[in-house]
């Protein structure tokens, strides 16, 4: 089955800023891999896989009890940019 891939759209969904050349390369590789992967379509089955766990665990919960949070300084020390106890990023949208 020929696999049609809008690679730029996929890269955008995945937030990967790739060059046109890189996109072309990945598109070709994905095409080959997906052609192989498309063999899953040879299976005739309407089985569902609600629970992939081999032990079919269900209803795994924790009780509503507080645990200690992390030390803020230790956490913020790993961040590229912080201010007054906050993480900092540039604005969400391009300024007009």
């Amino acid at each position: 089955m020929p696999v049609d891939i809008d690679i730029a759209h996929v890269a955008h969904l995945a937030r990967l800023d790739l060059s046109a050349d890189e996109l072309e390369g990945y598109k070709n590789q994905l095409g080959l891999i997906l052609e192989h992967a498309a063999r899953v379509q040879t299976l005739e089955s309407d089985a569902t896989m609600e629970n992939a766990h081999p032990l079919a665990l269900e209803n795994r919960y924790r009780e509503d009890v507080r645990r200690d949070s992390l030390d803020r300084d230790e956490v913020l020390a790993q961040a590229p940019e912080t201010r007054d106890g906050y993480f900092v990023v540039p604005p969400a949208l391009e300024s007009e």
């Binding site: 924790r62 949070s69 992390l70």
Partner: protein, 483 residues
Amino acid sequence: MNWEPVIGIEVHVELMTESKMFCGCAVEFGAEPNTNICPTCLGLPGALPVPNRKAIESIMAIGLALNCEVMPRSVFHRKNYFYADLPKNYQISQFDVPVCVNGYLDIEVDGDTRRVSLERAHMEEDTGKSTHIGEGGRIHSATSTLLDFNRSGVPLVEIVSRPDIYSAAEARAYASGLRAVVAELGVSDARLEEGSIRFDANISIRPRGDETLGTKVEIKNMNSFRSLERAVDYEIQRQIEVVESGGEVVMETRHWDEESGVTRSMRTKEGSSDYRYFMDPDLAPMAMSPQWIDEVRATLPELPGDRLQRYIEGGLEPALAGVLSGSNKEMRDLHDSAVAEGADTREAANWVTGEVTSWARRHGSEDSEIPLTGADLAGLLRLIGEGTVSSSAAKEVLDGVLGGEGSPAEVARSRDLIQITDTSVLESAVDDVLAHNPKAVADYSSGEHKIVGFLVGQVMAATQGKADPRAVNELIRSRLDGS
């Protein structure tokens, strides 16, 4: 053309659990930024979510209160989208098997009851909070964004109505009805101003009589019932104008601007979003057994709609039933227990919503315990009914009881408020007043019968309110008519 608006509302309710949805961090409003965070709610590499049982039971309670079916099995999905305040860049939410489906909420609009049908209620986690800073303070001119993840992972229940709301007033009634239910259940702070309840509205218009739905527009950022109503109203008018001037409504998300009272298009980069939902492999399926559902059902308090019904069936006229039903739990319990002690429901309701409530308001203790038992209130009403105290003196008795002076009978006695029932004492008081008011007596004789009220007041004053005004009235009339 006659247009019919069709509205669906999505409500996000933050649950008031001790700890977050998938980790042990505190759920706490107003904490220092980034102090209630851990590997899980901060999306650190390697961290895993474990669901909070209390949150699951809370959504089951909400579903049951909203007449939903609790699904026997349910699973969590990942909703994938990138956003700075979403630490994992996916939200753990639910997709095609939510915890609750198919419910309804009855709402009152202009005295009519309408049933709004619900599609589902599902469990998810909240995001962190972004604060945009820079000149102007507006999103478009922001120079940077500050991120606080304290709210990240707080349990959220999303309640989705069907497109079954047909006016801004209904939208408001639905939202406030839903808030009342959630508040009654005690599962959420239900504080709009703190964002613990948030609304999104999907609005479309169609020619009245049409069956098909028009193009819908989603409105976000309404943080009060009033702004919800205004935003919906505005958007309906906007769409009608667009269509009537030959245009077409565009499917989009719009932002309600409270200050200028308009909805504005939100610029989005992606055409349609593709959330790539798939079952979260970190979480086991949930199985809601009939026993578990029954256990949760047994914990449900009486809900506002059921309570109103009960009061009306108990003999209260709808208006008074509505006021009582809307009072706080202290007041309702006081009424209910007074009735259980033999008081008349109407009298008890009048006293509770009148004198007792205003006393509580004066003493700033509306939400705290009222120092009055149902037996006290029933006792007071009995003193009035038996004629032992007058209804005006009864207010003083109440004041004394609330002030901790003793039972109604004790206060009536100690404050000397027991009604004069001895006829000879009354007769002499009446005669005294008539003798001192010859002008009033003359007015009466010339046909001005209203003057009796003045004379009754004089007698009441002379007896310090302890006379029965009805008996005094009768006595005066018989004296004047007979002489």
